[in-house]
Amino acid sequence: MPVKTAQSSFRDRTQEFQSIAERLKKSVSSGPGPNGPSSSSKTEEQRSGVALQSEFNRRASKIGFGIHQTSQKLAKLAKLAKRTSVFDDPTMEIQELTAVIKQDITALNSAVVDLQFLSNSRNEGVVSSDTTSHSTTVFKEVLTMRTENLKVHENRRQLFSSTASKETVNPFVRQRPLATRSAANASAAPPPPWANGSSSSSSSKQGDGESQPLLQQNQQQQQQMVPLQDTYMQSRAEALQNVESTIHELSSIFNQLATLVSQQGEIAIRIAREFYFYVL
């Protein structure tokens, strides 16, 4: 339906044109006879020529298609990477997909190189200036698309690795204090009944009772020393991580700056302006 509305304002008159040509052809071919067959053989020749010529074009569009497919896979990968549900761990899938994408990219790379080779070998012949400028633009296009996709890939990987590191590191960071704390609690919690019991039992012996809590306190202090050291280590680790993530962020900032700079390129050029230069 949307296609239909989009088509509403133009008319395909190819058929009409062809029928006119057909009619004219008949009236022409009835005139000079020998011209017919030779022209048809010529046509065939030219056709094969056209087919050969479009080899470059075909490959270029194939690469374009490959890039498109790869980027779709990347999108899937991104979706997978974003899924952080505990029950459904897609790590395997992600790894497989990453491998596939890597393969794709190397294949694309070699295809691009091939294409360059092909066009170079063909360019040995006589090539018009327009042709070269056309193919350089095609290359530029393909290359920018590829770099963009690579960039996207990089981003996804970062996303994945950062979530992965969070998953692996966070439990480490969070659970350790929890564990130590619980251990501390566990070691600290049992004593009270025991201490209470002992104190109640030793309530009659007041002197001993005073020294015992002291000893207990000592013990507790010693126990607390271990977590303290632990938290210190943790804070060091955290600081390191902070530094790391800062560097990451900085690199992304630089990336963004780079794209900012490159975007200045073709954005504002208009045909008319270009034409203005031609005239000059």
């Binding site: 296609v3 239909k4 509305t5 989009a6 088509q7 509403s8 304002s9 133009f10 008319r11 395909d12 008159r13 190819t14 009409e16 044109f17 006119i20 040509a21 004219l24 052809k25 022409v28 022209s39 010529k42 046509t43 030219q46 056209v50 010529q53 479009s54 074009n57 569009s61 298609f65 498109h68 018009s128 200036s129 327009d130 042709t131 400028s133 056309h134 633009t137 095609v138 296009e141 804070s235 600081a239 902070n242 993530s245 800062t246 962020e249 900085l250 900032i253 963004q256 900012l260 073709e266 954005i267 504002a268 050029i269 208009r270 045909i271 008319a272 302006r273 270009e274 034409f275 031609y278």
Partner: protein, 623 residues
Amino acid sequence: MALNLRQKQTECIIRMLNLNQPVNPSGTANEEVYKILIYDKFCQNILSPLIHVKDLRKHGVTLYFLIDKDRKPVHDVPAVYFVQASQVNIQRIVADASRSLYDSFHLNFSSSIPRPLLEDLASGTLNSNSNSLDRISKVHDQYLEFVTLEDDLFSLAQKSCYVQLNDPSAGDREIEEIVERIVSGLFCVLATLAVVPIIRCPRGGPAEMVAMALDQRLRDHLLSKNNLFTEGGGFVSSFQRPILCLFDRNFELSVGIQHDFRYRPLVHDVLGLRLNRLNVQGEKGGMKSFELDSSDPFWVTNGSLEFPEVAVEIENQLNKYKKDVDEVNKRTGGSGGAEFDGTDLMGNTKHLMNAVNSLPELTERKQVIDKHTNIATVLLGEIKERSLDSYAKKENDMMVRGGVDRAELLAVLKGKGTKMDKLRFAIIYLISSETINQLEVESVEAALKESEVDTTAFQYVKKIKSLNVSLASANSASRSNIVDWAEKLYGQSISAVTAGVKNLLSSDQQLVMTRTVEALMEGKPNPEIDSYLLLDPRAPKSGAGTSGSHLKGPFKEAIVFMIGGGNYVEYGSLQELAKRQQPVKHVIYGTTEILTGVEFVEQLTVLGKKMGLGSVGAPSGSH
């Protein structure tokens, strides 16, 4: 679902660039095909305000050429041609095909290629030596022969329509040809919008001729079952149809000549905005080129403000920008010898991230501000030099009051301003005064001559006005040749000029055309518009079938078309009308060409010369 002409035309062009294959939702073709785009000058004008080189690349266009440029063969690519259907272009295409410049040819004609030209194309490609016929893979009619400048502003880019329509020596055939051209341009617009409007226009003059011909054209087209208007909206379009209001420049002559003091008209009239592109003197001397269209938020929001307000607004924007920059600097700038603290570091990079993210937005804003500062500076220079503010104000006063103090009048003519400014002022004086005061007119003429102004245009308007007066007073006046054509073309419309002046007295500053459009859209009985022609191309053709109530509105959407040249003053006035309505209505404004006051007065001068008036050398012995 408002009609958006710019968007529609852009869609059509993108579809064409993708070899007329369906385009997927993201706006690119499913399969990337690299191709070459060839266009002629006219189509370049269509393309350049709508699509940038970046977009061309997105749709696989690697090279783009003018058709008359010397081009080299590029073997393995298809070429997309977008040209007007003209003899020259057809010959050029045949030559290209026979030289086998490209692999295949996708021909797109801006309007519809006539059968004879199609046959020329066929025989031409057939007769050439190689198999050029096989290279022509597609032939399309695009119906895109108009230049869209804004979402709701278009121009048919047909030069000197006013001269041609009012030429005293023009025969019926010439007039018919011009009307036909205008009709086919309008037909393209309607086909692109996929609407069949209800047509209204004042009786008499070119507007009626165009209305009748367009009605016929639409009727003929709608007869065929598979037409351009059925595939689109179907019932939707017939449920809420727009109204097409046709006017002739003579309906309100003054708008074409008057000075205006709003930003957009000033930029156009004084600095020569063309195809949304403006070339002005940069701050450091060199020429700078700016683009002014809907991608410029400042232009969109402030285009209809008066110049001093615009200057204030630029100042405001600049201050706001400075404040935002300071804010960013404050947050990111190293806060002195801060301790290397983990949390602080995190915060800092966060700020830095935010800063980088806000940078593009800020630089964009800065660019816009710089651009308009530059434009406003140049504009201010011109305004001071020519004291355009007083021209605008006094002309407006004249139109409102229907006259001016004689001393003031002569003072202006002897004061600052270019010759053209003075001439325009004098013509506005003529139009605004209800009766011609012979003595006063002569002194005006003398003042003009003193400043060495070519008074041809002035005399032309005077002549038309006096003709009109004599026509009104005595219809049975001797019918010389001139009176004959004048009646044919002006019988109604010039009297509308004088009528319009009287009306202006009551309403404040609204153009007659705008007020008429408002009345037509409302569709309530109104003596001013009851006499207007009403045509419905969809209705069965029966003489008195024009009384259907659904044809009288109210309408939500209107297309207003000015035959013989329009400008940004009218455009702005209609936009105000559309915004003022509750609920907001939608008005598309179009014209045969967009003219500055100077350009229009030049056309008047040409007409004056054709009537044998003016010519500075000859003494005005008639008076």
